[in-house]
Amino acid sequence: MRNAPTRSLVSKWSTPVILMGMCVLIAAFAIARDDAVFLRVVTVMFISVLLTVALQTFMGNSGLGSFGQYAFVAIGAYASLWFGLSDQQKRVTLPDMPITWWIYKQHYPFELAIASAAILTAIAGAAMGVAFVRLRAASFTIATFAFLIVVNRVALQWEEVTRGSRVVIGVPRQTTIWITVAWACAAILIAFVFKESSIGLKLRASREDEDAAASIGINVKLMRWIAWTLSCGMSAVGGALWAYFIVQFTPNNFYLHETFLIVAMLVIGGAASVSGAVVGAIAVALSSEMLRQTENWLNTQRNDGTSFGNLLPFQLIGFTEIVLAIVMIVVLVVRPSGLLSGRELRWPRGNSQPGVTDLAENIDEA
Amino acid sequence: MTLLYLSQLNVFHGANHAVRDLDLQVEQGEIVGLIGANGAGKSTTMMSIMGAVKPRSGAVVFDGQNITGLPPEQILQKGIAPVMEGRRIFPSLTVGENLRMGAATVSDKSLVAADIERWCDFFPILRERYDRPAGNLSGGQQQMLAVARALMSRPRLLLMDEPSLGLAPLLVTEIFKLISEMRALGMTVLLVEQNVRMTLNIADRAYLLNLGRVEFSGTPDQIRSEADIERTYLGGGQVQKPSATPTAS
């Protein structure tokens, strides 16, 4: 076993390669199939992969639960409009923004607009993070949830920057499947490098026992804050890509339902590993799309009054969420560390230590 | 008559083999000491008797019944009451409410009322502070409350885990005096203690644990006469002066 170090190094770094390879393969498959609906599904799926990985970067390493991610997705989405639209476009899309504002004059190329939005959001996240990292467990989650609500309510009212509760219109569709897959791969790489970095390692040590980690000189709050800020910036990219893909939205598209979906993806896949985030996002995105199509098909049958359709007592609405919620509860109960149990996908296998364990590890305590 | 009998008990804490092949016997009316250094497996033994930790193998037999692996709430109903390390009174409940919680398994209300009277007579401070939150009591008073609360369940065996821990030396003497008084009440006591000297002063017999095994057992005199034990456990550091018979106040 003398040559183990090199071998295990290859094995370790095979993880991001495998995950990125999976994404590229799916993208290539979608493009080859050339089905508009499927392409759309896969594009949105990559944004979900990006967001789940962003959430994993914080939640998986720190063990704290954030329900506030979509606040930053929203900020990222709207900020990408401020930076990315020309002043003529802004007149249509954000008609209430005063032309005297500095931001009104800014008009960057697409990729630069996304990067600017990410930086702006990361700054906002960093500012909030200074406060949040002081909180523990449930308090942290409630605070981030409260922040989600604050951002939602402010966005709904502040027409100058968001167009309020009205649907944003006139955004060009610039996000393509290749752009999303590229960003998703970048996020996977960033998340993996972060996890394996000394900051990530220290943070994971603090996840098990905050006080013990602090006692060996780890500045837990600083590590958390760095992960949080990074996660906010990555989330903003997801928001921006989504904005330029969906092109019509309101602040209510960045709220509870969406939060639930990403949290479900992460929990089902397993929060403690990047692989868990990616696998969870892909599995949930594809299976909920399948469910949704089944739901639609059943509803069409019923509306058309076919003999089979008449067996359905009612319209199926929310069926997908029900299945998703049940799967999530079952996973939390039966396999609390998610499908991948905190492990990373590796090649060659073996030597893959389960990532130090997951959020819900101390089951037989008490 | 043998009240409590542990046979070949093995308990693990994760990978740590905390208690190894432990045999122990407590006769009716005895005060039995379970002594040893920190980490010798004393508290783990106690937790497995109480059902808070499940032994890997072996049996816990109480009054002829096998109680191994029963949940804590049922063990108490069999007649074993714990006085936990750190006292573990309910701080936001009043003294009286703590006593009533001790009798949570007693359904006869008049019996509960009579017992409260009885233990308040025995510990006058508890009557004095009856309606105060128990968290406001001093450490020694909390220990008395913890004992009284355990007695409220009308147990046949009292398990005491480190009752002297964290108390001022003068109070330690008080507490040991209290334990020896339990004998007069007809109570059987299994006393887990690090304070070897004081324990040997009041116990009928004692078991000396080391690294999860019984290293020696016998009467206090037998234990004291073991030169090794004298050196290892009684040699240095103990501040209490040995007093052969605790004097009654």
Binding site: A131, L135, A137, I317, G318, I329, P336 | M84
Partner: protein, 299 residues
């Protein structure tokens, strides 16, 4: 005369709204105190009772019976939640439990969406919800007075229960030290189930007035109340029963006060302000206005 009458009206509405908020917060806190579970799905208990009003209300039964049956439904669902979803994750971290409750909340909402309707439905309500009465020359809404009385009765009853019965004492003891409560012979599952039952009962009572006030029920009807419960309990103290009551009343006075005196365009930001207060409160005084007198030793 006018100003006195205004003031009395303000007082009555604030006390009635505050009482309901206090009950909402209590339903959250009573479970949190024992199990460290912040139950997101608490709002869905209110929804369940609301749909109870709708469905049972279609029968010929008198409204009081309908109301009692609806409250019972909320209690049953609360017990079911505990049994099916929360008991298996009881020893997991607070974060895991919170996420579980988020899933339960989504599940129940979606079930309502599927089985009933996404659209608001109006249940049969007795006329007291719209009547006003004149007491000593001052006009007040009847429902405000009823809510005020009911909330005070419920709070008093709960207080007596927690002080005088052994089950109530066990609940408080378990909030202090859960393991020790088991060691004095109390059945852990029963205590937690009792806490959930009380939580369901409170949600049911709240639902009668909440739905009576807005006159309709829809799958997301529980969201606003659960937010209120969050704010009130964080402000008052998440692990203090007194704190929850205090937080509820403070929030009641604040809400009605802001509604009465704040200009309309600032009022639009009311929720944002409230939740900013929550964040500040968590940071500055995480234990709330009333902190537990004795910190728990074993958590």
């Amino acid at each position: 005369m006018g100003s006195i009458s205004d003031f009395v009206q303000y007082l009555v509405s604030s006390l009635s709204v505050g009482g309901l908020y206090a009950l909402m917060a209590l339903g959250l806190v009573i479970v949190y105190g024992i199990s460290q579970l912040v139950n997101f799905a608490y709002g869905e208990l209110i929804m369940v009772a609301g749909y109870g009003l709708l469905i049972f209300g279609r029968s010929w039964l008198p409204w009081v019976i309908v109301a009692i049956m609806s409250v019972i439904c909320a209690v049953i669902v609360a017990l079911g939640m505990d049994q099916i979803a929360f008991r298996p994750v009881r020893n997991a971290s607070p974060t895991t439990m919170l996420i579980t409750s988020f899933a339960v909340s989504t599940l129940l909402q979606s079930v309502a969406l599927l089985l009933i309707s996404p659209r608001p439905r109006a249940p049969r309500l007795p006329s007291i919800f719209v009547q006003s009465a004149e007491i000593a020359g001052i006009r007040v809404k009847v429902v405000d007075v009823v809510a005020l009385v009911v909330s005070i009765v419920a709070l008093t009853a709960l207080q007596l229960f927690l002080r005088k019965t052994i089950v109530g004492l066990s609940l408080r003891a378990a909030a202090d030290d859960f393991t020790m409560t088991r060691l004095v012979g109390v059945n852990a599952n029963k205590v937690i189930a009792t806490a959930f039952a009380i939580s369901g009962l409170l949600a049911g009572i709240v639902a009668l007035f909440w739905i009576g006030r807005i006159g309709q029920v829809l799958p997301t009807v529980g969201f606003q109340p659960v937010l209120i419960a969050f704010i009130a309990s964080v402000v008052g103290g998440l692990s203090s029963i007194k704190g929850a009551v205090l937080g509820g009343y403070i929030l009641g006075f604040l809400t009605i006060g802001l509604q009465t005196w704040l200009p309309q365009d600032v009022n639009a930001y009311r929720d944002a302000i409230m939740f900013a207060i929550v964040i500040v409160m968590l940071l500055v005084r995480p234990e709330g206005l009333i902190k537990p007198a004795f910190s728990r030793e074993t958590r």
